[in-house]
Symmetry: C2
DNA sequence: AATGTATGTTAGGTTTTCTAACATGGTATT
DNA sequence: AATACCATGTTAGAAAACCTAACATACATT
């Protein structure tokens, strides 16, 4: 798990902004979660919290929906794509252990404090992620 | 106003995640707004919406507070720093006209759709912004 | 002792999000 | 044509998050 992956998987956004960014309805987003296309984190009070990764995925889903693909198909496609990423990554990412929100935030704080380094880039990352420079 | 500036000024985060990212209390954040150190956007229902720029600024403020500088001083420092950015930017950014949320989101959508380009970078941007890759 | 500054705390109200249920317009199937 | 299924809309009631405004407090300055 690289630093950038951690950043991209930080649960930050409540559903409102995600709706606007993706132009999906709350109903749609929840339905996709119900069918396990995404798994946003939850706040203490049970509100969904989306990461940049989640938002990227939602935009992909939207695309696939537009192409007439149904839930099952999209689920498979997202799964396959994820496999590819893991494969091309070199390391099979062991069991991709879960980081707690607190761990993620601690990591984040460290990176903020240690400011000044230049940015590094994975060549192919999707959609939303690219927006934050 | 460059594309990246637009991205960095998108009002996305409600106060909750901002509190966690900055480790500031809601009271502090609102107090800084009251003293015009930041000017987060508002949702239709009057909730504060912070941009990456706002979060960066809050982290700077936190730093300056730690150095014992008071509101007035911080305000000046932020102002001066902003002047510098504008100056080194080349263009004095006319009157930096306000973009509506909708304009920003339209722009955002365009950038998302037109995927694939490589990332570009301004060499010196602060803090949080760097986290989103 | 009195004032000022930055922040904490509380109260009451509004917005946002939650789940669950029912409704609806297409498509596919019988 | 009737039925079933899929993706989404809509509604209701409850809970969480956020809002402003006011008062409280700790510390520094006068």
């Amino acid at each position: 798990m690289t630093g950038s992956n951690i950043r991209r998987s930080m649960p930050l956004f409540p559903i409102g902004p995600v709706m606007q960014l993706t132009e999906l309805s709350a109903r749609q987003i929840r339905y996709y979660e119900e069918h396990q296309l995404i798994s946003p984190a939850r706040s203490e009070g049970n509100r969904r919290l989306f990461s940049l990764n989640d938002i990227d995925k939602l935009l992909e889903i939207k695309d696939l929906i537009d192409q007439g693909i149904n839930m099952a198909g999209i689920k498979q496609l997202l799964f396959v794509k994820n496999q590819e990423v893991i494969a091309s990554d070199g390391k099979p990412q062991k069991s991709e252990r879960e980081l707690s929100n607190d761990e993620i935030r601690r990591h984040l704080r460290k990176e903020i404090v240690q400011a000044g380094r230049f940015n590094q880039h994975a060549a192919s990352q999707g959609n939303i992620t690219r927006l934050f420079h």
